[in-house]
């Protein structure tokens, strides 16, 4: 078995996420590749949340809702996630929360009692369960202890100690029931330097790497942690980081800072971006570089704050009044997010205007193992700001090349065109789109953003089943990525996959190439795509 899927279910406030992160961390430390996905309700307390972890030997691109192991922290998990345990899979549960009615290998752990007894609080149950899990993969007990020590570093030593003991009790109880190891692992003190990172931490890190000196944001799920990471690092990075009064302030401050010489970034989600659209147009008009990171959640309006989606492509593309020369791109993986956020700063200098990087909640909050090599790469394209020695004029009214206001019909026309020429020029620097996967495939999955992960894995599953499938992942929307039409010509049967209702990329492809993709898988459930889910729906189409 080279890939396993773990699901954890529990009530909001029970520590589902903490346990999930601990397990992901443990497996990563044991040399595995990790992908995680949390599904949380938009409430601080009291709903049923889940956390999924994919563990494998090769790069994990997405998570699955068919589990090899389910950890049930509440009764609802028995009724829901536990039903999606695969043959021969495991279920860890507390007999107190209910009797499972599923055909899985049962690991009964009275974790509530253990937590109460050993740690003096039921809240420690996630540590008991962490111990259980560690036993199932035969992790060294010292690693377990040291990880809990690190995890609870802000708590008093005696509390930490009690939690370690609770975890150890969990370890023992599970060891008694599970004899074979759930997954073959050995702690490799691998020479490869790996990090376990969320997409947001990667975007934040990329900004630092790109030399960003100014960042402003207003908190908005699921983009907030970009602000939080940059704030936490600000002493070391000397970046000027601001939680400001609203998104209007954020983007206008960024434009001002950039005007004064900063490399500036803002981050938000769809609702905050709606408030920034006028500012995006301003950056374009003033020819001031800025980078915007927009992390999508389902709309319209407040929508589903803690879920994922791809509904903002068109909003971002058409932000601001008038024809706004604004570059828009979106990465498919965590590694690509690192590269593309860095690139965004360079493109912004090149077009002297706004560049928006679109991400999704599933990428922004999902964790992946990242190798140091991915963080070490050089960029293919860089651009330093051309500073003039003279006085700077930036006027949001239409203006001539010197920045002085003009309403002359010809100059006005020329200036509009000259701003768009920069977009056309950058198009030539972009890597062309290319089909990935099986040559001469019978089916091509067309997608963008983080849907890439599930699409790639689905294409592999299908190809393995004899349906040769490849993937066309479109990464640049303005300028529209070169090569899409050429690749389309090679496609026997393209299927569009998007996390929105109106086929936003599909429409853009038709607009830009005349090519219409008939078959579409459009999902607005707020959940990320899974490879199995896609395989099923693709087969329905075929």
């Amino acid at each position: 078995m080279n890939r396993l899927s773990i699901g954890i279910g529990g009530q909001a406030g029970e520590g589902v996420e903490t346990l999930g992160h601990a397990i992901a961390n443990l497996m990563a430390k044991m040399g595995k590749e990790i992908a995680t996905n949390g599904e949380f309700y938009n409430a601080i307390k009291g709903s049923h949340n889940t956390f999924e972890i994919s563990v494998s030997d090769e790069a994990a691109l997405s998570t699955s809702t068919h589990y090899n192991l389910v950890i049930a922290m509440d009764g609802q998990t028995l009724a829901e996630e536990a039903r999606r345990i695969v043959t021969d899979g495991y279920l860890i549960y507390d007999p107190e929360t209910g009797a499972p009615d599923v055909s899985a290998k049962l690991v009964a752990v009275p974790f509530l009692n253990i937590a109460q007894e050993v740690a003096g609080t039921k809240l420690a149950k996630n540590m008991v369960l962490f111990g259980c899990f560690a036993a199932m993969v035969k992790a060294p007990k010292e690693l377990l202890a040291s990880m809990i020590d690190e995890l609870l570093k802000n708590l008093p030593p005696e509390v930490k100690q009690r939690n370690v003991e609770a975890a150890q009790r969990g370890y023992e109880v599970a060891s008694e029931q599970v004899h074979e190891s759930f997954m073959q692992v050995s702690v490799k003190d691998s020479a490869v330097e790996n990090y376990l990172m969320s997409g947001n931490s990667i975007a934040a890190l990329a900004a630092v790497r790109a030399g960003c000196t100014f960042f402003a944001a207003y908190p908005m799920t699921p983009s907030t942690s970009i602000l939080e990471f940059l704030a936490k690092w600000s002493n070391e990075t000397k970046m000027s980081v601001h939680h400001v009064e609203d998104e209007l302030a954020a983007i206008n401050m960024a434009v001002g800072a950039s005007y004064a010489g900063a490399r500036a970034m803002v981050a938000t989600s769809g609702g905050g971006f709606a408030l920034m659209t006028e500012g995006v147009g301003l950056a374009a008009m003033l020819e001031t570089p800025i980078v915007v990171v927009e992390v999508q959640r389902p709309g319209p309006a407040t929508g589903l704050p803690t879920r994922t989606g791809q509904g903002d492509l068109r909003q971002v593309l058409h932000a601001g009044q008038g024809d706004v020369p604004h570059m828009v791109l979106s990465p498919g993986t965590h590694e690509e997010a690192f590269q593309m956020v860095r690139e965004a700063f360079e493109y912004a200098e090149a077009i002297r205007g706004p560049v928006t990087v679109l991400m999704e909640k599933c990428l922004a909050e999902g964790m992946r193992t990242i190798s140091v090599d991915a963080l070490n790469q050089e960029l293919d394209f860089t651009c330093e700001r051309q500073l003039s020695n003279g006085l700077k004029r930036a006027i949001s009214y239409e203006h001539d090349a010197e920045g002085n206001p003009t309403e002359d019909p010809q100059i006005v026309t020329d200036r509009q065109k000259s701003r768009w020429d920069k977009i056309a020029a950058i198009a030539e620097k972009l890597p062309p789109a290319r089909l990935e996967g099986a040559e001469g495939a019978a089916v091509t999955l067309v997608c963008w953003g983080a849907t890439y992960g599930a699409a790639m894995e689905a294409s592999k599953l299908l190809t393995a089943e004899g349906i040769a499938t490849n993937v066309l992942h479109v990464k640049y929307f303005r300028p529209f990525q070169p090569g899409v039409l050429e690749e389309f010509k090679k496609c026997a049967h393209p299927i569009l996959i998007e996390g929105n209702l109106t086929a936003q990329l599909g429409g853009l492809i038709t607009e830009k190439t005349g090519f219409e993709i008939k078959d579409k898988i459009l999902d607005v459930s707020g959940r990320q795509f899974t490879a199995e889910g896609l395989v099923e729906r693709i087969k329905e189409i075929l």
Binding site: K29, S201, G211, A257
Partner: protein, 284 residues
């Protein structure tokens, strides 16, 4: 000392109405800049969108005209990025107290060093004569033909209770006095706020009446202690509070340390960044 002419941009024709109070503000600002001896290239003049906000057009400094209501956040960003430059904003009262008042409240809290001048003419002049938030109760404008049914905003009190550290008012019709206030504002180590009574000859004729000028009351050392916040508030809220000019309040903070610049200085190496994510390292 730099000379006033150093700040003149003659390439762009002024389009203010003859007699507009904005000319007075322009003259006072340029005089204050020259007295403060700040080289044009170290000045960033920022305009709102409104008649008043056209000032950067004809100012030979770095100039910036952004969005209506957002001059202030843009200016704060500039001052943070380049604290060695003097940022001066000229916004209209619609810009500053209408659409932009949320930023203003928070700017008092942030206290970033810059000079924020508001051309208070009681109207939205560039859009041709609607009442602004400082218009008197029942004032008529093209969008309120039967008179506005809301009392005016009191910007000085707003500044004082929001934590403003330099709170003043000037009159565009008294250039030397206004220039003096601006000079003090430039010297202030923090956010300097100046509400400026600015007669608009086209849409607010009352303010252009000599009687209006005659009704202006000056706060001076003799009648007001600008170090006393309560006194300042009493002045602002008292009778004719909206006709008083001078420095209502100024709180110096000499311990304030000079901020670092945040201009771009190259990309970071990967070594620079790996330290930040040490807690996320899992292997190697």
């Amino acid at each position: 000392m730099t000379s006033i002419g150093d700040y003149h941009c003659n390439e762009v024709k002024r389009s203010w109405c003859p007699g507009c109070g904005d000319f007075g503000i322009e003259a006072a600002l340029k005089s204050a800049l020259s007295k403060s001896n700040i080289e044009p290239k170290r000045v960033m003049t920022v305009g709102g969108i409104g008649c008043s906000g056209l000032l950067p057009y004809w100012t030979k400094t770095n100039s910036f005209v952004g969005l209506h209501g957002r001059a202030l956040p843009a200016a704060i960003g500039m001052s943070i990025a380049d604290p060695d430059s003097q940022v001066v904003v000229m916004a209209g009262d619609g810009d500053a107290y209408g659409i932009g008042v949320g930023h203003l409240v928070h700017a008092f809290r942030r206290n970033q060093k810059l000079v924020y001048m508001v051309a208070n003419n009681g109207v939205y002049a560039l859009t041709k004569g609607q009442v602004s938030p400082t218009a008197e109760l029942n004032a008529k404008g093209s969008s309120t033909p039967f008179g506005i049914n809301m009392p005016p905003i009191d910007p000085i009190s707003l500044a004082l209770i929001s934590g403003g550290t330099f709170v003043a008012r000037g009159f565009a019709g008294d250039i030397p006095h206004l220039a003096e206030i601006i000079e003090r504002a430039i010297a202030h180590e923090g956010f300097s706020f100046i509400d400026i009574l600015q007669p608009c000859v086209s849409y607010h004729k009352n303010m252009c009446d000599p009687l209006y000028a005659a009704g202006i009351i000056k706060l001076e050392v003799s009648n007001h202690d600008a170090g006393d916040l309560n006194a300042a508030l009493t002045q602002a809220r008292g009778e004719n509070g909206n006709r008083k000019v001078g420095i209502f309040y100024c709180k110096e903070n000499n311990s304030r340390k000079v901020s670092d610049a945040h201009v771009y200085a190259g990309c970071r190496s990967s070594e620079d960044i790996l330290g930040l994510i040490r807690p996320m390292r899992v292997t190697g």
